[in-house]
Symmetry: C2
Subunit: 423 residues, 2 copies
């Protein structure tokens, strides 16, 4: 069979796995108990693996904050020295069936939302969103207020969510995403409707379960005000789907795009968990008042798993307010989205855009098409301050060298396996 | 000054009043305590005034159900006999600073959501939405289950909402409507996002206020599942704005379109509270499985107050799912909305549609333009079964004779006042 045919069949198989995945939120448990390979002194981060020395400033601050939060160090300075000495270990979320937004900082005691993908027997993990404050560990910020909030999430919100999802017998994520696309969400930087639908499903169960009243009111406010809450479940759903379609021989579909502020890494199904790395891109963005590009960390976060699964910039036509947030128009929203059809395998079966007459979003980034057309994937993203904190929103494109490397390696391994098959 | 100029200045004044109104939800109290002219044996209904004999079947059922609910009669039959005998009185909601959806049935003990319009010193009233069931008194249905729910609303939900709005110090309605237009709502038949935003604002306060836990869980489920809940506040906001702009000499802007299933009535600012009546139109609709046009009551409800204030069909471009619900496309959604620009005075200043680059919705129906262009206003509407219950959604257009009568009368009174001015 011609190589082209083998690749196209493999790509169809990959997309079928994505579409027949059933990501379902099933539990909330501390990372140490559930995340594969988690250790007390391990801090996970977004993006491809990176050494402490090369790690960007916001992510280093996040690692240090997590170490203090975990009681591994007394101060941020001590934590940084321990990380430099290897006493605190660091590794990429993606290599532990986990994704993390922005810095992606994830540590042992954090409650993790567990997403099960029953048809393929795999699970994905993500921590609980820290809420509406611009200062969050996720953005590399750490102070007494951030720590207090993390403790509340660990001791109150996490267990309350665990009890709720248990009482509910789980919650399917794709239907909520699909519905939120009819309500102005692109599910990455604008997950407002999805978070509202989620909160209204979960709150009655948390009430049933008897959470003490003051904490109940705080929880209701937190879920009501955290417009990005459901985004984390969307990310874990994306990770569960893409891990399931990883490692299909010949498949040229991207299964991860992840950024650590220093580098961008992508993975392709046919080369399994190998990373293809390039320098982190700058972000074309809109900054909150008082901030500018000079304050910004480069492109960061595992959240591009949304684009990898046909959401975010790949669904921007569903979310004109998102296009406006980055200085675009209604027409631009459609252009951003539809330009992605040049580099994708197909249209999503469940994620549809009403204003395009319920056309599916472009999905399944084909490294061949990226290299041949020169069109790079667009990623909706938030912007982190170098010293921590959220300072804007924008779009970024991963560097071409990730895709050209990936394509070369895919050709190498497919030739090798073809040769092996002939011998 | 030329009559045309007088009318245009009056219309601008009218629209300025609409845009500078500040409808704010401030309280919940029993109708008997707050609705102007309310009496123990009075049942209010949607649409222009109608005699018992000419009242449509669903509305008669509603009046009878309300009478039983109020303890005025023991059975629906007895209630109907009492209404026929004038022992139970009926009158139009609109004539009591009130609006009601579908049959509009409103009786003495029902908790009313009170909307204050501080800049103009007027208030509007509406009862509390009965929830997600297709069988509601609002749709002319009455049985043990409907009654039980009405009692719960009267005894539990109404007081809980009263306490909540008191603790919140009121809630502005326009900002929630404006936001919901960026989330797929047209705010009449699709008020899903607005209801979610409302619920997430109110629930934490209801929790604070100490509502007993079982009722709290029920309330949280009710608000989460009642996608039309906020629609009622939108209607009362519309009534508050249009009442404030009523009675401006020369103003040719429509201040009410209301249907009772038998007739449609409209009001025009320059002729104050005079009704102009025509026969109720049939609805071009989509029916729920098992139902068809032969089961349907004709166009009914005060809900066209939404269209009167630039929402519903006048904002359908914001809500492609609504266009699909009635068999249209994304392009149709824009066409429905934009065709209304032919008959309106201006564009709304606060209600904007993202996919049209935040253009304001057409607003301020000018009877002159309706008569001269022959374009009738479009109304998004639900469909009631003749025997009660919700059986579909569709669009309706009020009859031209309402507008031509109104225009004739407006000319008559303006000529009269011009003559008086000259004498």
């Amino acid at each position: 069979m011609a190589l082209k045919t083998l690749i196209e069949e493999a790509n169809n198989e990959g997309m079928n796995i994505m579409f027949s995945s059933k990501p379902r939120w099933v539990d909330v448990k501390p990372a140490i108990d559930v995340v594969p390979g988690m250790k007390e002194n391990l801090v996970l981060h977004a993006g491809p693996p990176v050494s402490w020395e090369r790690m960007c400033s916001a992510q280093k601050n996040g690692v240090a904050g997590a170490a203090v939060f975990e009681g591994l160090a007394d101060t941020l300075e001590e934590a940084k020295a321990m990380a430099a000495a290897g006493e605190i270990e660091i590794d990429a979320c993606h290599d532990h069936a986990t994704v993390g937004s922005m810095t992606g900082i994830t540590s042992a005691s954090m409650p993790m939302m567990i997403v099960d993908n029953a048809p393929y027997g795999n699970r994905a993990y993500i921590n609980v969103h820290e809420g509406p404050s611009r200062n969050r560990l996720t953005y590399g910020a750490f102070n007494r207020e951030v720590e207090k909030n993390l403790i509340w999430i660990r001791d109150v919100l996490g267990p309350a969510l665990a009890d709720a999802v248990d009482a509910m017998g789980g919650m399917d994520i794709v239907p909520i995403i699909a519905r939120s696309l009819t309500m102005g969400d692109e599910c990455h930087n604008r997950p407002t409707a999805g978070s509202a639908l989620f909160a209204l499903r979960v709150l009655p169960v948390i009430i049933d379960n008897g959470l003490e009243r003051e904490q109940l009111a705080k929880t209701a406010r937190f879920l009501g005000e955290t417009e990005h809450f459901f985004f984390h479940l969307g990310m874990a759903a994306g990770k569960a789907m893409t891990d399931a379609m990883s490692g299909i021989p010949y498949c040229s579909v991207v299964t991860a795009m992840a950024r650590n502020g220093t580098e961008v890494g992508i993975r392709v199904s046919g080369t399994d968990d190998q990373w293809f790395i390039g320098p982190a891109a700058d972000i074309e963005g809109s900054y909150f008042s008082g901030y500018g590009p000079e304050d910004a960390e480069a492109d960061i976060g595992d959240s591009a798993i949304m684009e990898t699964t046909g959401l975010g910039a790949f669904a921007m036509a569903a979310s004109v307010p998102m296009a406006y947030a980055i200085g675009g128009t209604a027409e631009d929203a459609i252009k951003y989205q539809e330009s992605m059809a040049e580099i994708t395998v197909t249209r999503h079966q469940a994620y549809q855009v009403p204003t395009l007459d319920y056309r599916g979003t472009p999905v399944g980034i084909d490294v061949r098409k990226v290299v041949h057309t020169g069109v790079l994937p667009i990623i909706d993203t938030a912007i982190a301050h170098k010293d921590g904190g959220e300072i804007g929103v924008g779009i970024a494109r991963p560097p071409m060298e990730c895709f050209s490397q990936a394509l070369r390696e895919l050709h190498r391994v497919t030739k090798a396996s073809s040769a092996q098959a002939r011998s």
